[in-house]
C-alpha cells in the first residue's frame, strides 16, 4: 500500500498542514499517517468511498475531532489541546455541514449575526449589514426574516454558507455540502461555491460532485480506508488514475452519471 506524499507547497506559506496524522476510534485505526498540505488560495477536493476517513480528516482541521498522533497546523498555528489556539483557528476556519445545522429557533438574519456579535464583538447594526451583504451574495436576501424550517434544503445550505462567511474566514471547509439535497437544488449550492472559489478563498471540500471538482479544484485527493492513496490535478486523477483502488472508485461513481 503505497502512500503518495501530498505536500506540494512549503509549510511556512501553507494554509493547512497535516503531517502524519493518525486517529483511532477505540481499536479502529481510522486515519493512517495522513499527510496533506493546502496552500493559500488553493482549492482541494477530497474524495473516496464511505468510511475512507475523508470527513474525519477535515473535521480534525477545526478540531471537531481530535487526532492522537501527528501534527496539524492551520494558518501558522498548531492544533493542540490549547483552547486559545483553538479559538484563533476556529475564527479563521469556516465550516459547512452536510445537514446544514442552522439554528431553528433563530431567524436567518439572527443565524448569520450570532457569531459576529458574540465572537468578533461586532455592533448589531454592522453585523446585520454584513449579513445582508452575504445573503445577497448567495441570492436570497428576501428570506432574512424567515425561519430555517420555512426554507427549502438548497436555500438552507446557501444560508449555511453565508453564515460561515460572515465570520470572514481565511479557510472554508465543506463536508459533503450537497449530499443531503434534492437533485434540483444541488446546482444552486454548487454555483455559490464556484463563485466563492473565484474570489480566491482557500477551500477544502469533501464531495462526490466530480463536475465541480473538474471546474474548480486545483488538486483532488483520493482517500481510502484511512489513508491518502493518490493525489494530483483533476485531469491527472480522473483521466490517468494510477492505482487500482482509484480506478474502481471512479468507475463506481461515474457509472451513475
Amino acid at each position: 500500500m503505497s502512500q503518495t506524499n501530498a505536500m506540494s507547497a512549503t509549510d511556512a506559506e501553507a494554509a493547512i498542514v497535516l503531517d502524519k496524522v493518525n486517529k483511532w476510534y477505540g481499536a479502529m485505526h481510522v486515519l493512517r499517517d495522513v499527510s496533506l498540505t493546502v496552500g493559500k488560495g488553493e482549492r482541494v477536493v477530497v474524495c473516496g468511498p464511505s468510511g475512507s476517513g475523508k470527513s474525519t480528516t477535515i473535521r480534525c482541521i477545526n478540531r471537531l475531532e481530535e487526532h492522537q498522533q501527528g501534527r496539524i497546523i492551520v494558518d501558522g498555528t498548531e492544533l493542540t489541546g490549547d483552547t486559545r489556539a483553538l479559538d484563533t483557528i476556529r475564527r479563521e476556519v469556516g465550516m459547512v455541514f452536510q445537514s446544514f445545522n442552522l439554528f431553528p429557533h433563530l431567524t436567518i438574519l439572527q443565524n448569520l449575526t450570532l457569531a459576529p456579535i458574540q465572537v468578533r464583538k461586532m455592533p448589531k447594526a454592522e453585523a446585520e449589514d454584513l449579513a445582508m451583504s452575504y445573503l445577497r451574495r448567495v441570492k436570497i436576501p428576501e428570506q432574512a426574516n424567515k425561519y430555517p424550517l420555512q426554507l427549502s434544503g438548497g436555500q438552507q445550505q446557501r444560508v449555511a454558507i453565508a453564515r460561515a462567511l460572515c465570520m470572514k474566514p481565511k479557510i472554508m471547509l465543506f463536508d459533503e455540502p450537497t449530499s443531503a439535497l434534492d437533485p434540483e437544488m444541488i446546482k444552486e449550492v454548487l454555483d455559490v461555491m464556484v463563485g466563492l472559489a473565484e474570489t480566491g478563498m482557500t477551500m477544502v471540500c469533501v464531495t462526490h460532485e466530480m463536475g465541480f471538482a473538474r471546474q474548480v479544484a486545483n488538486r483532488v485527493v483520493f482517500m481510502d480506508r484511512g489513508e491518502v492513496v493518490e493525489s494530483g490535478s483533476p485531469t491527472e486523477m480522473f483521466e490517468h488514475a494510477q492505482t487500482d483502488r482509484l480506478k474502481t472508485f471512479l468507475s463506481q461513481i461515474l457509472r451513475g452519471h
Binding site: 483511532w24 477505540g26 481499536a27 485505526h29 493512517r32 468511498p49 464511505s50 492522537q68 498522533q69 472508485f249
Partner: protein, 382 residues
C-alpha cells in the same frame, strides 16, 4: 465497498506497527479518559468512590455479616425475636422474612391451599412472558389471555374440581397486586381503544366531547380519590341489596383509571400513524369498522407497545394505593406483618424485601420496553 479481501483484512491480526498506542486504548486509557479526564472529574471520582465503598461496607456489614438469618422456635412466641433484638441496629434480622414470607406473599389465604395463589402468580408471570415474545403477537394471544385469566379466577375462588371455595376477602398479597393490575389492564384495554377512537372522531362531536371529558377528569384527579369514590360512593349507586365486594369496587376504580391513561397512549399511536394509511384504506372501499380493525389498530397498537408497557408498570406500582382503602395487597400485607408485636422494629427488613419484589417486576418491564424501543428504532432507520 466491502469485498472478501477487506473482510479478510479486518479479521487478520493487526501488525504491531498498527496497534493503537497504549495511551489510546486499554483499561488504563479508559480509566484516564472516563474517570480522571479532568481535575473536576478526578475529584468527583474520588469522592464518589469513597462514598460508595463506605456505604457498601456498611450495608454488607449490616445485611450480611452481622445479620441473623433464622431464630430457634421459642416457647413464648413473644420471645421469638430475642436473638434479633440483640443485634438490632448492627445486624439485619432476616428471620422476620423467614417467619412472615407466606403472609406477605399470600395474605390470609388458607395455609394448606396456598399452592393455588402460588400457581396463579406463576401463571401471571408466564402470561407476561408469552405476551412479550414477538412470535406470539397474533390473534391467538387474545384467547391465551382469556383462558389464563379464567383459569386464575377458578384457582383463586375454587369451589369446583375438588378445590375448596375461598372467598375474596381472604385473598391477599402478591396475587392481589397481580390481579388488580392485570385484570385492570385486560378490561381497560377495550374501553381505552373505544375512547381513543372516539376522541379522534371528527364526525361525532358529542362522542368526542364525552371522551375528552372522561379522560381529562380521570387524569386530573389522583388515583386515591377514585379509590375513595369506589369505597364510599359506589355502594350509594347500587340498588338495595346489591352490595358489591370491596375488591370488585377497587377493581372497577382501577379499570376506569387505567382506561383513561391507556386511551391517551393509544391515541398517540393513532396520531403517529401516517395519514396515507387511513386514505389507502378508504380508497379501497373499507368501512369504518373494517378499516379500524384490520388496518389502523394493528399498526397503531404495535407502535405504542413500549409506552404501553411503561404504563402497565405504573399500574402495577399504583395498585399499592389500595393500602389506603384496606385491601390486602403486597404492600399492605407487608405493613400488616410489620405490626405483629413479636417483630416490631424490624420494618426496614420487610420494606427492603417488598422493594426488591417490586423492583424485580418493574425492572424486567422497563428493560423489556427499552429493548423493544431500540429494536423499533433500528428497524425504522434502516
Amino acid at each position: 465497498m466491502s469485498t472478501t479481501s477487506e473482510v479478510a483484512l479486518a479479521t487478520a491480526p493487526l501488525p504491531a506497527r498498527e496497534r493503537p498506542p497504549a495511551g489510546v486504548v486499554g483499561p488504563v486509557a479508559w480509566g484516564r479518559h472516563n474517570l480522571f479526564g479532568s481535575i473536576g472529574s478526578s475529584v468527583v471520582t474520588i469522592v464518589l468512590g469513597v462514598l460508595i465503598f463506605y456505604f457498601f461496607w456498611r450495608f454488607l456489614s449490616w445485611g450480611l455479616i452481622h445479620a441473623v438469618w433464622s431464630v430457634p422456635v421459642a416457647a413464648n412466641p413473644l420471645e421469638t425475636a430475642i436473638p434479633c433484638r440483640q443485634v438490632q441496629g448492627v445486624g439485619a434480622c432476616w428471620a422476620v422474612i423467614g417467619d412472615k414470607w407466606r403472609f406477605i406473599l399470600f395474605g390470609r389465604y388458607p395455609y394448606d391451599m396456598q399452592w393455588r395463589p402460588g400457581l396463579c402468580v406463576l401463571l401471571f408471570i408466564g402470561l407476561y412472558v408469552i405476551s412479550a415474545m414477538r412470535r406470539f403477537w397474533r390473534k391467538e394471544l387474545l384467547y391465551i389471555w382469556i383462558a389464563t385469566l379464567v383459569v386464575i379466577a377458578v384457582l383463586m375462588w375454587g369451589g369446583v374440581l375438588g378445590m375448596e371455595y375461598v372467598a375474596q376477602d381472604q385473598w391477599g398479597g402478591l396475587p392481589i397486586t397481580l390481579i388488580l393490575s392485570t385484570f385492570g389492564l385486560a378490561f381497560a384495554f377495550p374501553l381505552a381503544v373505544l375512547v381513543a377512537l372516539g376522541r379522534r372522531s371528527t364526525q361525532l362531536p358529542a362522542v368526542k366531547f364525552l371522551c375528552v371529558g372522561y379522560v381529562e377528569l380521570i387524569r386530573g384527579v389522583p388515583l386515591i380519590s377514585l379509590l375513595f369514590m369506589a369505597s364510599v360512593m359506589f355502594p350509594l349507586f347500587m340498588p338495595e341489596g346489591l352490595n358489591p365486594d370491596k375488591l370488585l369496587r377497587a377493581q372497577v376504580a382501577i379499570i376506569l383509571f387505567a382506561g383513561a391513561y391507556l386511551a391517551e397512549v393509544i391515541r398517540g399511536g393513532l396520531q403517529a400513524l401516517p395519514k396515507g394509511q387511513y386514505e389507502a384504506a378508504d380508497a379501497l372501499g373499507l368501512s369504518y369498522g373494517q378499516k379500524t380493525a384490520k388496518i389502523i389498530l394493528p399498526q397503531a397498537l404495535r407502535l405504542v407497545i413500549p409506552p404501553l408497557v411503561n404504563t402497565f408498570m405504573g399500574f402495577f406500582q399504583d395498585t399499592s394505593l389500595v393500602l389506603i382503602i384496606g385491601i390486602l395487597d403486597l404492600l399492605t400485607a407487608g405493613k400488616t406483618a410489620m405490626a405483629d408485636p413479636t417483630w416490631t422494629g424490624f420494618s426496614t427488613e420487610i420494606y427492603i424485601v417488598l422493594a426488591v419484589i417490586y423492583f424485580v417486576f418493574c425492572y424486567a418491564m422497563s428493560s423489556y420496553s427499552r429493548g423493544l424501543e431500540r429494536q423499533f428504532r433500528r428497524a425504522h432507520n434502516r
